[in-house]
Amino acid sequence: MPISSNAQNEAKSIELLRQILLKEDRSEVEQLKAILNDPDQLSERISPIVEKHLEDMKKNFPIEYNATIENIITRKLENSQEELLNTISPVMGQMIRKYIQHQFQLLKESLDQQLDATLNQGVIGKVRNLFGGGKSKVTSEEFIANLDRPIIEEIYVIEHNSGILLGSASRKETINIDVIAGMLTAIKSFVEDAFKRGKQDLEMIQYGTFSILLENFHSYYIAAAVSGSMSMRERVELEKDLAKFAENELKVNLQQNDSSANLVIKRKLEEHFFEPQKEALLQGKLTD
């Protein structure tokens, strides 16, 4: 037998041997290829493994990554505090407003129940019904409105420009009334000058439920400090009252530098605007 024929036979034998030995492996590879190429089969095999990993991750995530994520969040928060506040503030504001509205509603309902039990149904209610025919049922709105009605706390008559106090009255002892008059005039001058609206005057300063109503006249203005919420109607009424007071009571020479004139204005302000004091004066409880 020639050498080449021997070599060919040897190669065939090796191939045959390879086929015999690798038959199972090749078959498995084919199966694996079929699984890999078929999404359904692949998913069926992999899903349980992924799910198990996810479960493990859920269990172990806080232990493994908590510190890292906390660090990242802290850094991020530090870097974007302004941005975050701008984003959160409106949402927080809305939430707070909703909460307050809700609490107010609860308070209102509770007040209604209490008022109904006390004033409309109880002994007082029976008496009211007897004499009033049960027409005027007290509601929380009326009750609250009475609690928060506007009250003139302090009132000043101030010379324009110089800010010199011409007269004032107050429900309580107020220190530095001259300084208050001066600063009010400074604020008024500043606003009127800064916005350059021609002959227009500053008419009101407001913070929270405290308002300072400024009614301007030729050589002076009257500043009335009012506590409590003031409706537009009440404001117009007060403005009318201030104008009426100026017309009737401030005809004295307001330019004069006379302490007695200040006392006259003070007494007139008290008599006109502070009813309880007026009543007390009438009853001789106060000494002027």
Binding site: N161, S162, I164, L165, V179, A186, S189, F190, N257
Partner: protein, 167 residues
Amino acid sequence: MISKKVILTGSFGVGKTSLFNKFLYNRFNDKYMTTIGVKVDKKVVNVDGSELSMLLWDIAGEVSQDKVPHSYFLGASGIIYVFDLTRPSTFMNMASDIEYLKNLLPGVTIKIVGNKIDLVTPERMAKLETELPLPYDILTSAKEGDQVEDLFYALGKDLITNATTNV
């Protein structure tokens, strides 16, 4: 009692607020604090038996029309124009400032005050006398309290004299 509005004005950092504090509360704040806008306070001065209530307006910064609301000056009977003896820039515009104030408030009593005299040597003061655009009325030291009371007393005296003359 007579009440009068008095304005303290002049450039930044000349010592208006220090004079104001020294006169009102007899204290001097070493820390420089720029006044924001205006601060109003009151002091009653006794001038030869007559009481005068001074409503003092300490106005921040410049005199010039575009920097301070001109209405701050209105109704004033007296003006204390303060400059810093150690900084020529604070008395550079003195003549035009005083003219502006006189036009705005005809008949107003003005006191021109050179402050920080405690920081000026006699030699430097002698030279300053020739450099100042207008003569000063009084030299003060808000820090040491020198002549502060005298300044307000002199102004008060003029205001009372004017008030009684005009009646």
